[in-house]
């Protein structure tokens, strides 16, 4: 009984900040001390889709950056995960730790250094520049997940497929990839969400010209239109929640998550 009430308490607290968000997004002039607004409105949600609020623009930019970042980090993370998960080689632990530095070390100094080059390359304030810096946090997470997936992967299946006459490409597409697919889903989920939610890196390198959803939200937050802020905040949560639902099966895959427990 005590156990159950503690769990319920935690869940209530976790959901609590969403309550004022939802109310605000439909509220018209919700002044203190009203517990519930006197008047309801759809105006904030309509404002969201109007081009002046730049929310649709932010949504599309966020989506493009997150998708490209996810694909690139997957391409880079798969071989690295395989090497760390399956093979033994000198310097493995050091390289693994090195790959993790971007998520443990503050990126601020690095960002100021990168900006110096990006300005000279004309990449400051471009989508490409932002994707490049988004790879810093996504590659470590991707590698962590895939390392742990490969560590639990039996290479005997590949050996057998090869001995039965499959080409290396056939082995990859028909044996390896289907077997590690759930792990790939978890890794891609993490990478997508990290990029989608990223604020600081975009803030520095985007130079106000790359306008992702977090940038829209940050700008609106300075303005003080709580209704619109709440509507944008809810909008930016939707893909994350969708992904969580879709991947809830994959998230129970402990081999994929175990990687975080053993950095």
């Amino acid at each position: 009984m005590l156990r159950k009430s503690f769990i319920i308490l935690v869940i209530v607290v976790l959901f609590l900040p969403f309550l004022p968000l939802v109310i605000w997004s439909f509220a018209q002039g919700w002044f203190f001390p009203q517990l519930i607004p006197n008047q309801w409105t759809l105006q904030h949600w309509l404002q969201l889709v109007s081009p002046t609020s730049r929310v649709i623009e932010g949504l599309l930019q966020s989506l493009a950056i997150a998708l490209i970042t996810t694909i690139l980090s997957l391409l880079v993370g798969l071989p690295a995960g395989r090497a760390i998960g399956v093979m033994e080689f000198p310097g493995k632990e050091a390289l693994k730790l090195f790959l993790l530095t971007p998520i443990i070390v503050s990126p601020l100094a690095t960002l100021m250094g990168i900006q110096f080059v990006l300005i000279r390359l004309g990449l400051n304030g471009t989508l490409l520049g932002v994707v490049l810096v988004h790879l810093m946090p996504t590659i470590p997470y991707m590698t962590l997940v895939l390392t742990s997936v490969f560590a639990n992967f039996d290479t005997g299946y590949e050996t057998q497929a090869r001995s039965l006459g499959a080409s290396p490409l056939q082995v990859l597409s028909q044996v390896t990839l289907p077997l590690i697919a759930p792990g790939i889903v978890v890794g891609a989920l993490f990478a997508f969400l990290i990029s989608w939610n990223e604020f600081l890196l975009t803030f520095f390198v985007g130079a106000g010209r790359v306008f992702t959803l977090p940038m829209v939200l940050f700008t609106l937050l300075q303005g003080g239109n709580n209704g619109l802020v709440a509507a944008v905040a809810i909008t930016s949560v939707i893909p994350g929640l969708l992904f969580l639902l879709l991947a809830s099966k994959a998230l129970e895959n402990d081999t994929a998550l175990g990687g975080f427990g053993n950095v």
């Binding site: 690295a80 100094a109 080059v117």
Partner: protein, 308 residues
Amino acid sequence: MIFVKLQPASQHHPAPSLTQPFPWQAYLLMLPAVGVVGLVFGGGLVLALLQSVGAIGLLGERQISLTAYQAALTNPEFLRSLSLSLYIAVVATGLSTLISIGLALLLRTAGRWASFACQITLPIPHLVGIVGVLLLLSPSGFISRSLYALGWIQSDQDFPLLVNDTANMGVLLHFLWKEVPFITLILLAVLRSINPAYEMQAQILGATPWQRFWNVTLPMMRTGILSSSLIVFGYIFASFEVPFLLGSTRPRTLPVLVYRAFTDSDITRRAEAIALGIILSVLSLLMIVAYSWLVSRGGQKRQFTKDA
């Protein structure tokens, strides 16, 4: 197509020919990831370092000196910012780790829906959490309104300041809200991988529930606790937007101080900002070293107890 496992024990005794190829193959596979991280992160850090000592400048000027570091370290705000950053990171990480251990142990026997509900804040951007916390905890926020409706407070003046307050309550609560589900998720995965036979054995041998937890379960969770709290500590210590929007205006955390110096209208303060950023990075690097030391020490200790 059905594949039969050729070597069931191949994970423990890899066949030298295929599962353990020449190391250069492993290095080749590592190259893209190490290359990108090295080039972007490492390269950025090196460039920042060069800028901070004046070896390269935005306008092409060159004068090597350590004045930027002197300015950074003698900045009257530096020590206060550093201790504020450490205070927030230590308290938030410590509390979330403790709560997560308890929650993970409870969720272990609870149903799927409970575990799922406890993951709700995982995919939520920090910025959205910040907005939620502001609308919930500010003097005219939802909790304040609820207390007013209950008659516990007479005006918003009676409500304690929980955002942008000197104790940084809003920042700490936000991080707890966001990081408890993260650590819990990892610890749950660790707990599920533990062989329950050890705990049963302890119970059979007469261990109390507390002894069973302290001597059996907790040691097996150790690595998971250490690595998840390291990730969380590093993240909170370097976090910018949360203390920027929810934290105290003075003192400011180290990342906020760096940002303010970097965007100062006085462009000569840039080198100082970069020097501050480098100091911040070095501090985080030291944490990784301390962590590796902790883990290796733990490994030796375990080894010892096994032998004894």
